[in-house]
């Protein structure tokens, strides 16, 4: 749990999102991603966390979150994950002009940020502070950030990324199309709006093991929906990029 809680969505959430995305890539996009990454999307999904304190990537350390304004619009403070996703997608329109190394880095950033922008603890908005409660799991305190970073592991104990995909990835083509409609900024707006309610799912300093099933189910639904949406949307970005 300690490793999980150290990163956004934990390594498990990011791997699950990337693995779901990989199942929805076109053959061409999959081949290109494998060619440049030399790995699956899931394998490199936490690269951005592991290299955030290493030059020349220290700057990316600030790109894991997003802030919304009172109307839930993304604030452009130069650090916002969805706006960096937009920038990278634009840069990748001419990816053949970039070096293989730069393409690989762009893909790793994109894979990770698509996950982060859907992570409840990576979204902030005006007046949010007091609404972000901590949680206890078997007596150990998880602050408001760690609650959602670690949620993929404690809400589905023992699940691998294959379990995540098998159990969640069941939307129809029409539903997936609807989920992927719009731009990363539209998705961000939807996430910010959705996160405004997360503070009310469980009581401040609640003990997870003593929580009622209905509350846990609400948490699980949010966790699962965000992971699934992130996976589908990541695939749609990559499919557009490499068509």
């Amino acid at each position: 749990m300690s490793i999980q809680s150290a990163m956004a969505w934990g390594g498990l959430g990011h791997s699950a999102i990337a693995y779901i995305a990989e199942q929805h890539l076109t053959d061409e996009a999959k081949a290109k991603c494998h060619h440049y990454l030399k790995h699956s999307l899931a394998y490199d999904s936490s690269w951005m966390d592991h290299w955030r304190n290493v030059e020349p990537f220290c700057e990316t350390s600030y790109w894991h979150c997003m802030k919304g304004d009172r109307d839930n619009k993304v604030i452009d403070d130069g650090r916002s994950a969805p706006l960096h996703i937009v920038r990278i997608c634009k840069e990748m329109k001419n990816y053949k002009r970039l070096s293989d190394e730069q393409i690989a880095i762009n893909l790793k950033l994109l894979i990770h940020m698509a996950g982060d922008m859907h992570c409840p603890s990576h979204v902030s908005y005006p007046g949010q502070g007091f609404k972000r409660p901590s949680l206890y799991i078997k007596g150990r305190k998880y602050n408001s950030h760690a609650v959602w970073d670690a949620s993929p592991a404690y809400l589905h104990p023992g699940w691998t990324i294959v379990d995540y995909q098998r159990n969640l990835d069941n939307k129809s083509a029409k539903q997936i199309k609807q989920i992927c409609k719009g731009t990363p900024c539209d998705w961000a707006e939807e996430c910010i709006l959705k996160m405004r309610v997360t503070g009310y799912i469980f009581d401040r300093n609640a003990e997870f093991t003593k929580m009622d099933e209905a509350t846990i189910e609400k948490m699980r639904r949010l966790n699962d929906e965000q992971i699934l949406n992130a996976g589908y949307r990541l695939a749609s970005l990559l499919n557009k990029m490499f068509k």
């Binding site: 490793i3 498990l12 394998y43 304190n53 290493v54 294959v162």
Partner: protein, 268 residues
């Protein structure tokens, strides 16, 4: 007295940590899964017949023997011993290569061995070909660091009060036993095997050639490369730590493909 007991406890725990098993479960099962994907139909049929399942099902068996009184002598089988020139020349029982050769002979001469002997030989091979590719299980004459040591790596974070970089201690054995799997969470051994096959695809043919003794020498070269500049207590940067992913991948891919090559050769 209390201080003395504490000291003894620390020494004992450190020794225990340095003698830790080679690959963790994920490492052994990834190697077995990669080998499984590359077995010939003949080898696959024999494996299924003997194990009643896949290679993965027998991958951890040898580790259970070292804990039993009657078979604790097998603990010495998990290491590979190289001479100062980096060659595998030993014929002593306590060596992975020697045991792999012994077990390969049992499988090659199956008609003169019981089914149980064959099953145990196969499980031993599956485990020891993996151990042979675990860097901290390679012992090189005149290279005391191959016995294990502790060092530190920078986490990338800074102490909030002092502003100094935070470094944490870790055993050489922990790194090579599978610590790097922590960078890739939630994988099944099969998925990890797929990734190893993908990332080292261009080396598959070359790495599948040779004999266990040649593989041991190859791992001696790899071990010496990783020990360059290392010493007990040294602090490595976060970048150096992250870059250990690549040799870790080399070891897994080599072990998986070579295990398949050996079994395919035995059952050709």
């Amino acid at each position: 007295m209390k201080r003395f007991i504490k000291y003894i406890a620390i020494v004992a725990l450190t020794a225990l940590a340095l003698e830790a098993a080679a690959w963790n479960k994920m490492g052994h099962e990834t190697i077995a899964a990669l080998a499984e994907q590359n077995l010939s139909p003949e080898a696959k049929a024999e494996v299924t017949k003997l194990l009643g399942g896949n290679l993965k099902s027998g991958a951890m068996w040898l580790n259970t023997l070292r804990k039993e009184e009657a078979t604790k002598h097998t603990a010495s089988w998990h290491h590979t011993h190289l001479d100062a020139a980096g060659r595998s020349t030993t014929t002593t029982e306590g060596d992975a290569v020697v045991q792999i050769e012994r077990c390969a002979n049992i499988l090659r001469n199956a008609s003169t061995h019981s089914r149980n002997e064959q099953v145990e030989a196969l499980k031993t091979i599956v485990h020891l070909v993996a151990d042979l590719h675990c860097i901290h299980h390679i012992r090189i004459e005149g290279e005391p660091l191959t016995d294990g040591f502790r060092f530190k790596y920078e986490t990338g974070k800074k102490d909030k009060k002092s502003g100094e970089k935070i470094a944490v201690g870790i055993n050489w054995s922990t790194i090579w036993g599978g610590r790097m799997f922590g960078h890739h969470v939630g994988f099944t051994p099969e998925l990890m095997a797929d990734d190893m096959a993908l990332c080292r695809a261009e080396h598959k043919e070359a790495w599948s050639q040779g004999t266990p003794r040649e593989w041991a020498a190859d791992m001696g070269v790899a071990t010496r490369k990783q020990l360059e500049g290392m010493k007990p207590g040294i602090v490595i940067t976060r970048k150096q730590f992250n870059l250990l992913d690549a040799p870790h991948e080399d070891c897994l891919a080599k072990a998986g493909w070579r295990l398949a090559a050996l079994l395919n050769n035995i059952y050709k």
